[in-house]
């Protein structure tokens, strides 16, 4: 026969139309039909109950119609709202598509029942259109209600702000005017933005708070803030005039000072670093080397004939000293010994 490109298999065949009955062709055909069937089913569900939604970018998808070998818009949209699967249904109702579908099924020996599914009859189309119009009306009603609600919210916010301004004790016409201008400029922008998209529900909330904060820098006890006076910085300047920041100004009472530690402190620090490296549980780690002790201080010493704690050695020694002092004094018969100081209470 001749060269023949089968679009389903994606192969050029030389055996003519005979390959259509082959296994691979039929299996590929089945797969295609199943896929297409799913899409069509979805679309058919919406005939009785069309869904109308706000426009969103993913409504612009196209789908490939196998029968007509073209790409068709899936949904119908006028850049404000979309009717889901409208495009698909519309395409399926066209007479060209009907012809193509017949041809397709005849050529590829597809099931006749399926063919009917792929075409929408005129009745179905009529029904779909009426349902769509109803749905559109409902949708528009809902949108109107929503807009009105938003408007009410904005109005109440405005009222609130005006009340706040009026309740201030200090009359300040300078403040009121820019505030009112702000209000008026915000209202039309808010309304237009609403008509554009309905996803800005988050915005009215925070913008409400922002405005509150900016207008509340003047305050009164009723709002829990204390007024500390109008700060006049025209003498020293502020960041806008380019004045020197306070933390860079020279202190009047501090002269040129040396920064950092002196040599002595540095050496001491070095010594301390060395000490830190020593094991912390060494003997006498907490011994205070610079403590001043009086003349009868005795070091911690465990004496030979004392098997108790070391302070007991010390006490024993002091007692012995006291005894020998006493004996000597007795012997010397009143001669004053200069070591009477040893008769302390033995406490350091």
């Amino acid at each position: 026969m001749g060269a023949f490109y089968c679009s389903i298999c994606g192969k050029t065949d030389f055996s003519g139309k005979g390959h259509i009955h082959g296994k691979s062709h039929q299996s590929k055909l089945k797969v295609i039909l199943v896929k297409f069937m799913d899409k069509v089913k979805e679309a058919r569900r919406t005939i009785k109950n069309p869904q109308v939604e706000k426009y969103s970018p993913h409504h612009d998808v196209k789908f490939w119609c196998y029968c007509c070998a073209l790409e068709v818009q899936k949904h119908v949209t006028d850049s404000n709202i979309t009717v889901l699967y409208g495009g698909l249904l519309e395409h399926m109702s066209t007479p060209e598509h009907r012809k193509n579908t017949h041809k397709f099924c005849w050529d590829n020996k597809a099931d006749l029942k399926l063919r009917d599914k792929f075409i929408t009859t005129e009745e179905e189309t009529e029904r779909f259109k009426s349902e769509v119009s109803k749905a559109l009306e409902q949708f528009e009603e809902k949108e109107d209600v929503f807009i009105k609600q938003q408007a009410a919210v904005i109005r109440s916010q405005e009222q609130h702000r005006l009340e706040v301004l009026q309740s201030l004790s200090e009359p300040d016409p300078e403040l009121l005017q820019p505030a009112e201008l702000d209000h008026y400029s915000n209202k039309p922008t808010a309304r237009s933005s609403h008509s554009r998209s309905y996803e800005m529900e988050a915005q009215p909330g925070p913008s409400h708070e922002d405005h509150e904060a900016s207008h509340c820098h003047r305050s009164e006890p009723g709002f829990g803030l204390t007024f500390i006076g109008y700060q006049n910085s025209s003498s020293c300047g502020n960041v806008h005039t380019g004045a020197v920041p306070p933390w860079l100004l020279e202190e009047p009472d501090e002269g040129p000072q040396e920064m950092g530690p002196s040599i002595q402190e540095f050496l001491k620090h070095k010594e301390q670093e060395k000490l830190k490296k020593l094991p912390p549980n060494r003997v006498g780690a907490n011994f205070d080397h610079s403590s001043h002790t009086d003349a009868n201080w005795l070091p911690s010493f465990g004496r030979v004939w004392n098997s108790g704690r070391r302070w007991q050695s010390r006490n024993q020694f002091r007692e012995e000293e006291a005894k020998t002092r006493g004996k000597r004094k007795w012997k010397d018969d009143g001669k004053a010994t200069k070591k009477q100081k040893g008769l302390s209470n033995g406490e350091l």
């Binding site: 020593l278 549980n281 080397h289 002790t293 201080w297």
Partner: protein
């Protein structure tokens, strides 16, 4: 060449030495400069003092000049060497009856250096009593008498 070891002649000097020597073993030799055994010991001490300068400081004390400490440390024989670390008295078990001091002289310089090293290591680990590395045969023998007898 022998280095002259510093001498302490009064209680206050000894107190100062005990308090100020930090992170090193303080060696106090109690004796008399003219005594023969003391001279032997002093020679060993002075020859090793420089090598042990990072671990120990050595001082000589004449027992006549510090009778209070002579009594406090129960020094009955000379020379007697007492060891301190950071103001704490270090006891050493030499195999002899008295652990609080080393009585007599050392046989060799190495004995003394080993002893100092053992005391230093023990002190760094927090031990107040250590075991002497010196062979007991090289440790001078003496009789410890209770002073009332």
């Amino acid at each position: 060449m022998s280095f002259f070891l510093p001498k302490l002649s009064c209680k206050k000097d000894i107190d100062d030495a005990i308090k100020t020597v930090a992170e090193k073993v303080l060696v106090l030799r109690f004796g008399r400069d003219a005594d023969s055994v003391c001279l032997q010991l002093d020679e060993i001490l002075s020859k090793t003092a420089h090598d042990l300068s990072n671990m120990a400081s050595v001082y000589l004390v004449d027992v006549e000049t510090a009778p209070l400490y002579t009594r406090y440390f129960d020094i009955s024989f000379i020379p007697s060497t007492v060891f301190f670390f950071n103001g704490q008295h270090m006891k050493v078990d030499y195999g002899s009856p008295d652990h609080t001091k080393f009585v007599g002289s050392f046989k060799t310089k190495q004995d003394f250096m080993d002893l100092i090293e053992v005391i230093y290591r023990g002190a760094m680990r927090g031990k107040l009593i250590v075991r002497s590395p010196i062979d007991p045969r090289n440790v001078p023998k003496y009789e410890l008498l209770y002073h009332d007898i």
